[in-house]
Amino acid sequence: MFARKIFMVQFERFTLENGLRVLVHEDHTTPMAVLNILYDVGARDENPEQTGFAHLFEHLMFGGSVNIPSYDEPLQRVGGENNAFTSNDMTNYYITLPAANLETAFWLESDRMLSLAFSEKSLAVQRDVVCEEFKQRYLNQPYGDVWLKLRPLVYKEHPYKWATIGKELSHIEDAKIEDVKAFFKKHYNPKNAIMVVGGAVNLEDVKKLAEKWFAPIEGGTKPERNLPNEPIQTEEVKATVTADVPTNAIYKVFKMPGRMEDGYAATDLISDILSQGKSSRLYQNLVQQNAVFCDINAYIYGSIDTGMFVVEGRLLPDVEMGYAEECIWKELDFLKSQTVLADELTKVKNKYESTKAFGEMSLLDKAMNLAFYELFGDANLINTDIENYLKVSAEDIQAQANTLFKKEAATTLYYLAK
């Protein structure tokens, strides 16, 4: 409605002969540059007997490459910083550094795309580091293990049924160097990567640097992906866990469309209507007006394949779980039976749009989003995806709520205090 035209992200695109796709976004308001490389491999591509591997592998990418013993040190020496993350869909690596030193980023990233050092010591240490990460984030936190328990309840077939950290510690502890080599060979090559270079750079320089450092790398083959479709859920799934937590919690999950499928934007807006900020329905009705939850949120796990729409609430003491669940259903049913008010819909659309605009003040965010959208099909979606949101009508919201919120399609977890 109001910000769109002002916030176009300009970019150029070219492809090297070996298949590496390169996107260039010039932004001369900053003295910095970003080099972002996304590999089209995530936890969904793992062997069910070796879960957590894509993420463990991400750690090993920092353990030295074939010609460069240390990754971090030379980068820090030129004033740069880096990090990476792994999701169920992708693995993404990024560097920010003073633009004058951009070539060091090309040197480092191309060498580790060429080949890793495959050091046994690095594997041994990173196995331990990842096990500590597993404990820190998932096991040693109240409610920390909830997604380890929920994913396999929601997904029966699709590999989204395990979390990126893996099903269990033993899968990580058992990783061997041969597995690491095979994983690299299969997934880490120019055809399976998308590179974005942004900031105080220019297209011609980036082309030269890309030719110089990446063109000599053999293209490899893009691995085929044959993932099982998650069947439509026809029966409600319920489970209960009891743990040492201070308050009872409820998690309700419904399957939702994948990132580029019809209905995704409407589903995203439904989560905003329900729970964005203090004027949202769940907060107003179930926290403020009626004392049911101390905290309740609706959000989506947007993923390329079938995703998850989640309602998560922590109950106030003395509130019955059955009653709390009824209250959630009442809100979902209301979305199914009544169209949203025009103002309410405009509000969440405007908020979506301005959130995007503020996000684009960050060079790194722009570079990452270009890479994500290129993976989803076309980097220019960074400028056009907004249309999918703006065209959602009140009737679309109601229809989508009816598609999503069916009793038999719900997965519910009661997380009870001991």
Binding site: E103, Q141, P246, R314
Partner: protein, 423 residues
């Protein structure tokens, strides 16, 4: 032939440009600092107030008053405030820190005439409604209960109390503190703190010529009043150095180690930041290299220096497997002492210098970050020459000077050591 073993040539960061703040004043003398940069028609306006009147019997008063600014005014309910702001695609946030309380608006420039009056409502007409206050306190209490189940939270709390006792800087909230507040207290504190003589405005983004007059129109007529005295921040550190809380079932121990230290106004502060970077201030730091990358004891370990207006402190923080908790403490002590006993090698120091310069350059991403840099000096009574000094010190500092600083400020035996978990 491409030589992949050879790092490409690189340059050191020489010049760093700061977008400096311009000062204006409203009719009632509220200072307004403007940082004008950027191409997007967005603006951030911060209303910043110094905290006043710390009372340990009502420790939550300043923070709760701040949070409750969004919960209702004479003419708007909390839901109305939120939906109006949301409708225009704007954001607002309250923030309470140990020195200041603030209310910040993020808005598209063109909707400022609609969004800014709502901020005025919150700053001049908040009524702290009973029902909203009850809801807020009840929910905060539940959140604290969850927090108290986390070893890292317990360690941070125990660490603060060890260093700064029950002063504003050290106090760790108890569940019962939520029962000690009523709306009369909040209204009184609101009157004392949220007034023009105690207010500083910082606006950053793409500033239009009309913005200042809009602010003056709305806030320049706000009744001025007398300034209140600042908080007398005297604190008593703990006599015990080791604070151990055993958690039988823990998989990991949370560790915090450190000591009160000088703040940004002290001539040694910049040198200490460089020393801290070497120890635990970046991914390649000695603590990370040893305890994560060599031994695999942890997912992460780091150290930092915090600068508060009336104190500062140095801290090391990590979470490690329970079986290697004792070994980690030994390694930390070893790394601290190495920096006291041996000179940093030239190569390592050169890397740290380049890293810190790049990091400073990278931290100036947009108008908002330039404004943050301004606040870091302004509220410490410093000028932009602080950053010139910072850059010069980073470029010039010698290994000898760093070793001297380590010896002057660090004594492992004198450090407070907090462990929550098992050892």
């Amino acid at each position: 032939m491409l030589n992949r073993a050879q790092q490409p040539e690189f340059k050191q960061v020489e010049d760093i440009n700061f977008v400096k703040a311009t000062k204006h004043e409203l009719a009632n003398k509220i200072p307004v600092f403007e940082i004008n940069a950027g191409e997007q028609d967005l603006i951030r306006i911060e209303f910043i107030f110094q905290n006043r009147g710390w009372d340990v019997k009502k420790p939550l008063l300043p923070g709760v008053t701040n949070s409750m600014l969004t919960e209702g005014t004479h003419s708007l309910s909390s839901a109305q405030i939120a939906s109006k702001i949301d409708y225009y695609g704007a954001f607002f946030q309250t923030e309470y820190s140990q020195d200041q309380s603030s209310l910040t608006l993020y808005s598209l420039n063109k909707y400022l005439p609609q969004t800014l009056p709502i901020i005025k409502e919150m700053l001049t007409g908040s009524i702290f409604p009973e029902k909203e206050l009850k809801t807020f306190l009840r929910n905060q209490k539940q959140k604290l209960k969850v927090g108290l189940e986390k070893n890292s939270v317990l360690a941070r709390r125990a660490f603060g109390e060890a260093l700064f006792g029950d002063s504003l800087y050290g106090y760790a909230t108890r569940l019962s503190d939520y029962d000690k507040l009523d709306r009369v207290d909040l209204s009184a504190y609101y009157k004392e703190v949220y007034h023009p003589a105690n207010c500083t405005v910082v606006m950053s983004g793409k500033i239009e010529s009309s913005t200042l007059s809009l602010i003056d129109e709305l806030f320049g007529t706000w009744d001025n009043s007398e300034a209140v005295d600042a908080i007398d921040m005297t604190y008593q550190s703990s006599l015990e150095k080791l604070h151990y809380t055993e958690k039988i079932d823990a998989l990991q121990s949370a560790i915090r180690i450190g000591i009160p230290l000088v703040n940004r106004t002290h001539p040694d502060f910049i040198g200490l930041q460089i020393l801290n970077t070497a120890l635990g201030g970046y991914f390649g730091s000695r603590l990370m290299a040893n305890i994560r990358e060599d031994k695999g004891y942890t997912y992460g370990i780091g150290s930092g220096i915090a600068s508060l207006q009336q104190a500062g402190y140095f801290f090391i923080s990590t979470e490690v497997g329970v079986d290697v908790t004792a070994a980690t403490l030994t390694e930390i002590e070893k790394e601290v002492n190495l920096l006291k006993n041996e000179l940093i090698a030239d190569e390592e120091l050169a890397l740290i210098k380049n890293y810190m310069m790049g990091s400073l350059l990278g931290s100036l991403e947009n108008a908002f970050s330039h404004a943050d840099k301004f606040k870091n000096i302004h509220f410490f009574g410093l000028g932009y020459d602080y950053y010139e000094r910072y850059i010069q010190t980073v470029k010039d500092i010698s290994p000898q000077k760093l070793r001297d600083l380590a010896n002057r400020y660090w004594d492992y035996d004198a450090f407070y050591k907090v462990v929550v978990g098992k050892m």
